[in-house]
Structure formats: C-alpha cells, structure tokens
Symmetry: C2
Subunit: 344 residues, 2 copies
DNA sequence: TCATTTTATGAAACCGTTTACATCTGCAGC
DNA sequence: GCTGCAGATGTAAACGGTTTCATAAAATGA
C-alpha cells in the first residue's frame, strides 16, 4: 500500500502538495494536481484515514453506543442514524450489545480518538459517570436518557405522553377496567409507558392498583402469556394495553385462538406502530413512534454541535408520539352483553 | 486531554513504559505499573485509538458495508454482526445507505486505515471492482454475493434452495396453479428466490410462464396490491408464494378483508420467518432465514482470517433455509368447491 | 526597472502511539 | 573481580498523514 511519500516522489512534488491535492486545497495549480492524481492512481494510493485523523483531530465518524436491542425499533433507529450520517458523509462506529457499567466505559474508551462525537441510547444509572467522562473529550447526545446529564443534548420519544393519550382515548370509549402488559424491567421506554398508564388512571380518578398489570419483555410471546391471565380474570378487563406492538400482536393472536374476538369481545392497543401493525387482523390501534426520526434528529443535533464553534445551551428535543387509531378498539357499549364489564 | 507524554512525565518514566503498562506488557515491574496507572487516572488519560492503530496497523474494527435496507432482515443481520463482534471486543464501522458504484468506492476508501477487514452485503456488478481493490488492502468477506469474487470468502443464505423447498411442498399439497409475488429488482435475495420458484416449476414439468408472477418490493403494501390481481384472476391460483414475509402479511391482510379465507380459500407462503410470523392469523408457513446467524458467521469468518497467519483457500459457507410449516397452506382437495382450480 | 503582492511549492515540525534497540542495574557463576 | 545474562527502563525512529512557515516564482503596479 502506497504512502503519501511514494506518491510525492513519483509525481516529483513534496508530500505537502500531495496532501493538498487530496484535501481539495485551492493552493495547488491545476497541472500539478493532475500529475499528482495520475501518480496516485498508478500506485493505487488513497489517504490513510487513521493517520489523517491523528493530525487533524477530526474523524468524520460518530460513535453510537446501544444496549442489546432487538425488534423493529432498533432497526428503524439505526436506519435513521445511518441515513442521516451518510447523507453528511459521516461514518458510524457502532458498539452495542453491552449491559451497562464497566462494559460501557471500556467500549467508549476504545472509541476514543476515532470519533468526533458520541450518541448514546438509554444510558442507565451505571453509565452516567461514563457519560460524564466521555463528555470531557467529545460532545455527547443522549437518546431517551433516564435523566438529563449536564452538558449533554438529548432527543427523546414522548413515551409518557403517548401512553397517556392511549389511556385517555380508552377512557373516552368508556373503558374502566384496563389491563396493561409491561415492557422489560430497567428499560426506560417501558417504564415511561407504564408511568403514563398509571398516572392517567390516577388523574381520571381510577385506582391504578386495581388495574391489571402483567409483566412482559417486548416480545410476542409475552403477549401470549398475558392472554391466559387476562382470559381467566373475572370480571374480564375490557381492554388490554400492551407496551409495544410485538406483545400486542402475540396477544391478539392468542385471543383469536381462544375464540375471543378483537375488538368485539376485548379491545387491544399497542405501542410503536410497526410496519405491519396496519395489516393485522384487525388493524392495530397503536402509538406512532418515529424511531427513524429519533435517529435522524440525534445525528443532526450532533452535526450541529460539531459545526458550532462554541458550546450552546443544552438542548432537549422531543419526538412526539401520536395515537394511531385503527380498528382494534371499540367502545364499551359495543361489547357483547355476556362479556360486559361491571365498570365504574 | 492528556497524552502519553504527560503521563510519563507525571509518573517519572518514559513514554515507552507507559505504553507498556497500557498494553499489559509483562516487561514492567509491578510498582512502576502502579505508579503509572495512578498518574494516568489523575490525568484522566486513556490511549488514543487512532494513534495506536497508526503504529500497530491493527484497528480492532470491522468495516461493514450495506445497501439501504429496511425490515427485520436488516435488524437481525446487524444484531448477528454486532453481537459476535462485541463478543470478541471488536468494533464495527458501519457505512450503509448507498446504492452501489462510486458511492461504495468512496465509502470504502473512507474506511481505509480504520478497519482490519471489510464485510460487504450483496455487492452488485457495479461494486465488484471496488471489492477487488479493497481486497488488496484488507480481507473481505462477502454476504450473499451475486457472484463469487476471487480471494474473498463468502457467507450465503440458501435462498434458491429455500424457494425450491417451498414449491416442492406446495406441489405435494396438490397445488398446480401458483402465483408468486417477487421482491425488488436488483436484489440478490429476491432474484434467487424467484429463480428457485421458476426452476422448481420447470423441474416438475409445469410451465413457469403460465404461473402468475407479480411485482413487489418486499414491503407489506406490495402484498396488498398483489391481492387485487390475484382475486380478479380466473381461474384463481390456489396458492400465493410471497418472496418475503412482509408481503405475505400484506397479502393475508388484504385477502381477509376481501372475505377470502386463508388457507380454506387460498394458501399463502412467505419467506424469512420474521418474529411475528407465528402469531399471524393464520400462522404463516414460511422459510426460516437465520439473518442473525448470517451476520454471526460473517464475523467469525473474518476473525478467523485476521487471526490466520497465511491466506487460506477461499471459503464459502451456506446458511440453510428450512421450510417452516404452519397453517397458512392447505391441500388443494380441501379447497372450497366453488374456488377449486382447474389445475393440470 | 524595481518594489510589492500573489500564488505555488517545499521543509520540517507535529499529531499520539508503539517498538526495535540500546542502556543500565544487579546478580549468578566461575 | 570478571563475564554473561536477565530484567527493567529509556531513546528515538517509525506509523502516514497535515499544516505552519519560509521561500521561490510569477504577476502587478508605479
């Protein structure tokens, strides 16, 4: 692999000139540039990015640190990050699949010197001091942080608002006996959604403790498992709010299999609005979460910070979560008599 | 940000010693090491990875180049790549969302010097010479290449085999009038699946031209669109084979909406076995594609190459694609009389 | 024609590491 | 009291670029 010196020698110029040619400096005459380019091509030369970033202190790379995720949220988020980054010719250094704590510290250290900034998803308590440390070196943008970190911008999904909107909608439909299938413990999105669920009930003067809260892990199977509890319950809840679509899908499937019709016998709501939510049977009422937009915003924010000469005030952007009404919820009055809940 | 020199000065040693401490060299006495570590901590020092890789020529990073993808395949693939890489403490430099050609060349050049090897998904004709060029610098592993490239190992999904197995199964069930919803033009997976479909028919002595082939793009909506053509067709095909699950889901949804029951009135097959395929109504018969395993294998292969001292023979690994039979296909005899096809 | 400015180029320091090699110290062996 | 050797450390040259500053050449203005 040819170096800049070999190209310089071949073209009969100095390394400075070659360097200038490859960074499109205007301080090189046209024919010199051409000569250099020709030599470079012959030698199959291309600047070594690592060496370049060592001396310029810019890497044109954004570090991304994610916990071990799965599902469509992850892939949409990545697409958003990805697209926006490549749009601006930035690369992405990815490090995921870690559980927090020292893990995260090691990973972010390995990134040091190779990234211009770091985007971090859902840092938990254990990662907070890592964030603080990284922040001294490069700008950090947080996604859905559990709590704001001094000096870090953040982009958040309005999980809480979305959940509140769902419950308000259900209350309007006359439901008073609600079940909730929660997401995994320790997951910020899951917790915010649950908080939204509980507080909405409280605000409406209902006792959240009386609502049926079932454990879940954001996977389809958790919805299936929840269904058995729900079906066995008397009086049976009139609606089930699953903390994400995957679980809602599992739930709907199990209910259908048990001969329980949605929404005639029981209503179901999800959260996320995954691509196929509209193609379910019945089409799923859910909350639209623009994961792709979340990623896009995070990258934009990062690029803004990188471009800015001086530090700006801490910015917190919120990606709205809008209710997407389809056909999986009906009004309570429409419920079959036999299954009608003894609400209020 | 402190450099190795400052730490050396603070600890009263040379930079060589500091370097040795941070690379766990045994050539440092215990108390010197301790002293160095203490100074480093005080100064909040951590080695600069870019500088490190400049002198060691190792980056501990694998480059990944993907076309602009969406859907569960992408996210599963990424998870496989990701997990295996972090398991071995490798990082991932991602560059995606490009369409091939000069785009790919530029992106891979930007990676030069920052990666130990490159994993590339579905390189098309336009990218072949980029691959050839990159290969001279770092090892390359190809995923689902359209054609093998001299000197590059590859991992492939048995798309063709999977499609053949589907058709064989359908023929066994007595179907003779098949429809196919294709994937996007130019997509290798899509094309291999279609080839499998066509050739199976041919082998069975059926005329592939007579089969109904509809265009698609791997999105749910394409399945919906296909349904209108299929329902209008007389005689109506007894089964629809969608080139991926997303389209199969769109299709099932549209058929249901049109009052056409699956599998009583028409059978449906997908491809991919996405997480929720088993929770559809009816559960979808499909082909299991282990995208996660594909990614895992690719990383393993790459790490093997990186560890190997000398070049080994070109390896080609195939990830099998097994038929996953659920409930969306029935035997032709079971079809309702009125809709029975005039097959054979 | 000469001083002045502009433009193109080169020399060399620098970015933050690693590592081959040199050096120093202390100790065992004779 | 040497020699030889092992272990711990230091020196300095890479690694492959960029960039400041100096300089040479060309263009400009008087």
């Amino acid at each position: 692999m040819a170096t800049i010196r070999e190209v310089a020698r071949a073209a009969g110029v100095s390394t400075a000139t070659v360097s200038r040619v490859f960074s499109n400096s205007p301080l090189v005459s046209a024919d010199t540039a051409e000569r250099v380019l020709k030599s470079a091509q012959q030698l199959d030369y291309w600047p070594n990015s690592a060496a370049r970033s060592l001396s310029t202190h810019r890497t044109h790379t954004i570090g991304i640190m994610l916990p071990d995720l799965f599902g469509e949220f992850y892939s949409d988020l990545m697409r958003g990050l990805d697209r926006e980054a490549s749009l601006h010719e930035y690369q992405i250094l990815l490090s995921s699949s870690h559980s927090g704590g020292s893990d995260v510290l090691a990973a972010s250290r390995a990134m040091l010197g190779r990234i211009d900034g770091l985007i971090m998803l859902a840092p938990d308590e254990k990662s907070i001091d890592t964030v603080e440390r990284v922040r001294r070196r490069v700008p950090v943008v947080l996604l859905n942080p559990r709590q704001p970190v001094e000096g870090c911008h953040s982009v958040e999904v309005a999980n809480y608002d979305g959940a509140r909107r769902v419950v308000e909608y259900l209350l309007e439909l006359g439901h008073r006996d609600l079940a909730f299938v929660a997401g995994p413990e320790g997951n910020v999105d899951a917790e915010e959604r649950r908080r939204g669920f509980r507080e909405s009930l409280q605000v409406a003067g209902l006792d959240p403790d009386q609502a049926l809260e079932l454990p879940g892990d954001f996977r389809e199977i958790a919805g299936v498992e929840a269904s058995t509890v729900i079906l066995a319950r008397h009086p049976r809840p009139t609606v089930v709010f699953a903390a994400n679509d995957a679980m809602a899908i599992g739930l709907q499937s199990a209910l259908h299999r048990a001969g329980c019709r949605v929404p005639q016998d029981i209503s179901v709501v999800g959260f996320d609005n995954v691509a196929m939510a509209g193609y379910l049977n019945p089409p799923l009422t859910t909350v639209n979460v623009d994961a792709c937009g979340l990623g896009r915003e995070a990258v934009r924010m990062m690029l803004d910070v990188l471009r800015a000469s001086e530090e700006s005030a801490q910015i917190r952007r919120v990606i709205p979560a809008a209710l997407k009404i389809r056909e999986s919820c009906s009004a309570v009055e429409a419920l079959r008599a036999g299954h009608k809940s003894n609400s209020n």
